[in-house]
């Protein structure tokens, strides 16, 4: 059967061929333009290659390993021949000191002490339970087991003692410093033993082994970048408790809860430390100062999103957190002084609310806290049971 009205036909082969060539040229042009744009990195923010993170993490890790290897090689060369020149400082891509990690600790008695120190540092609630009177672990304020820059890393602290401290106006050894951490930040007065770890005990030795091991290659009194909590400049507007409350509700309450009491997991382990109240650091801890807390918060909070708050927000929320009652300053109880006397003696020269009347309450007389009857009822986290190296 034939079509009564045949359509006029063009030469099909010729037209298709032209179209194909045209399409090929257009496609090539598009690919070229797209490749050019891709090479310029224009797509990076919207189309991350799936393995971007691995490459990044791998490259950072590699640079750290190389920095340590270079340091060790140059150190050995110098030991064998002073003409080889001084060892290099091991620093990573970010310019910060690269500490040794606990898994590099040697297989001997000293290495055992390093590993014990690491366990005390990361799980203070359990491994120094008799001397902790609140819900804190060392690693709550020294992130990454004391390795993270701008989170008061222990590789920087290790090379700064002995030192004279204005806080107690004497020369402090590292043991003295750790004793202070237990006294104030860990609120030892409310612990089962009622005191910091006994002087010259293994807790100090093991923690110091860990810090010392980590700091290999760091210059003494190095004032290394990343030390302490760099305090952002106090904003022109100063700091304000009510502005801080809004910052706290928006950024902090999900973890630390609106009343600052922190949160525990179903095992009863503290996951988010209390920021005020009877499970928090006491009025003698450095973190009760608004400037110190602003420095910690600015660089480290919310966890994993350090640097996301403005300087103003960091100062304001630090003020809000430290405008609530917390366990008493142990020096007040020790000396039998009034809050006003303790304020004049120990709290005068820093930005803090000790001795102030806020919301109608005199801050500093402390929350009522019963000494803990027994050690926290927690073991090692499940994964950690097999983690001992």
């Amino acid at each position: 059967m034939t079509d009564p009205n045949p359509q006029p036909t063009r030469d099909p082969g010729r037209t298709t061929g032209r179209r194909a060539i045209g399409a090929a040229i257009a496609a090539a042009a598009l690919v070229a333009v797209g490749a050019g744009l891709y090479a310029l990195g224009i797509y990076d923010p919207i189309a991350q290659s799936p393995d971007r993170g691995t490459h990044q993490a791998g490259a950072i890790e590699l640079a750290k390993d190389e920095a340590r290897a270079d340091h060790l090689a140059s150190r050995d060369a110098y030991t064998n021949d002073p003409a080889a020149g001084p060892p290099t400082l091991p620093v990573g891509q970010d310019g910060y000191f690269v500490p040794r990690t606990v898994d590099e600790a040697p297989d001997n008695e000293f290495g055992d002490s390093v590993r014990r120190g690491y366990e005390v540092f990361t799980n203070t609630q359990t491994n120094a339970s008799q001397h902790v009177g609140n819900g804190m672990n060392c690693a709550n304020c020294h992130l990454g087991a004391g390795t993270v820059p701008e989170s008061a890393p222990m590789w920087a602290a290790a090379v700064e003692y002995p030192a004279f401290r204005g806080k107690n106006k004497i020369i402090n050894t590292m043991e003295d410093r750790i004793h202070g951490c237990f006294t104030y930040s860990m609120n030892a007065q409310n612990s089962p033993s009622g005191t910091p770890p006994p002087r010259d005990g293994d807790i100090y030795k093991d923690l110091q082994s860990y810090f010392y091991f980590m700091a290999e290659g760091a210059p003494l009194e190095g004032n290394l970048p990343g030390r302490g909590y760099p305090v952002p400049p106090e904003p022109a507007q100063g700091y304000d408790i009510s502005r801080g409350e809004a910052v706290f509700e928006a950024n902090c309450a999900v973890c630390h809860s609106s009343d600052g009491s922190g949160r525990q997991d179903p095992n009863g382990r503290w996951i988010f430390p209390a920021l005020w109240g009877d499970d928090a650091y006491n009025w003698g801890a450095g973190m009760h100062r608004v400037n110190t807390a602003a420095g910690f918060i600015k660089h480290n909070m919310p966890l994993g999103r350090g640097g996301s708050l403005t300087d103003q927000e960091a100062w304001d929320v630090a003020a809000y957190i430290n405008s609530w009652e917390r366990p008493a300053d142990p020096r007040q109880l020790r000396d039998g002084t009034s809050v006003a006397e303790t304020d004049a003696q120990f709290h005068e020269h820093t930005p803090n609310f000790y001795g102030d009347v806020i919301r109608g309450d005199l801050l500093g007389d402390g929350v009522p806290g019963e000494p803990t009857e027994q050690a926290p009822s927690t073991g090692r986290p499940l994964g950690e049971q097999t983690a001992s190296r």
Partner: protein, 243 residues
């Protein structure tokens, strides 16, 4: 386009992109999304008797098919369908609301959630929070379990990733209402969520905590940690059934 038009276009685009995170601050007017949203739902759920909703969970009701038909009779999940047993009531109710208003995208869940009343969401949330069932999960994504374990326990501070346990609890059994249990979760589901936060399909993480972490994790890391978490013992019931 002349130069001025180009500049105008670029400026508008830049402003629009900048506004995205700000817009995410309040995701939907009807759904609490402040830091303690999960606590708000949990408090509302306290007035609802989960026993009244057991049948809805097991058998469904008319157009609403049963939860069990996909999530399993024991709420254990399967493939990319998540375990619900042992999640907190506040977390589950928050997610159901997010589906109902389109804050979380999944056609099956949106279809169901749109038909549920608030009380039904709260009752189902409590029903699954009170459920304890053994793990039905295991590694299936070919992830590096040693790397996954490292991320779960220690995180990776080189890329600003905290340990999973530092928010989800020392056994990854969750922390109170807002931080869900991850233990024994179906790895394909965990992986899909990490991918969804990376590309913006899921945005309802408080303080955008999971967005940052998901962006930092490579595809291999996502597989590794999803598989590792699937090896952990299942969470206990978050509340007693007669609570």
């Amino acid at each position: 386009m002349n130069l001025r038009a180009h500049v105008l276009f670029a400026t508008t685009l830049a402003l629009g992109l900048t506004a995205l995170p700000a817009a995410a601050q309040k995701l939907h007017p009807d759904v609490p999304d402040e830091g303690e949203a999960a606590e708000i739902y949990a408090a509302r759920a306290a007035d609802v008797d989960p026993a009244d909703y057991a049948r809805l969970a097991r058998e469904g009701d008319g157009e609403v098919w049963s939860c069990a038909s996909c999530h399993g009779a024991k709420g254990e999940g399967n493939g990319n369908i998540p375990r619900l047993a042992g999640l907190s009531a506040g977390y589950i109710a928050k997610q159901l609301n997010a589906y109902a208003v389109g804050l979380r995208i999944n056609h099956n869940m949106q279809y169901v959630a749109e038909k549920l009343s608030q009380d039904e969401m709260l009752g189902l949330a409590r029903y699954y929070a009170a459920m304890e069932s053994p793990s039905a999960a295991g590694p299936e994504l070919g992830g590096d379990l040693e790397r996954g374990r490292e991320l779960a326990i220690h995180g990776d501070w080189d890329i600003d990733v905290p340990a999973c346990y530092s928010c989800h609890g020392s056994s990854a059994w969750g922390v109170e209402q807002a931080f869900p249990s991850l233990a024994a979760q179906q790895p394909a589901y965990t992986y899909a969520q990490l991918a969804a936060w990376t590309d913006g399909r899921r945005q309802n993480s408080p303080v955008q905590l999971m967005q940052g972490i998901s962006h930092a994790l490579s595809d291999a890391d996502k597989r590794a940690v999803s598989d590792y978490l699937a090896t952990l013992p299942a969470p206990p019931a978050q509340e007693a059934p007669d609570d």
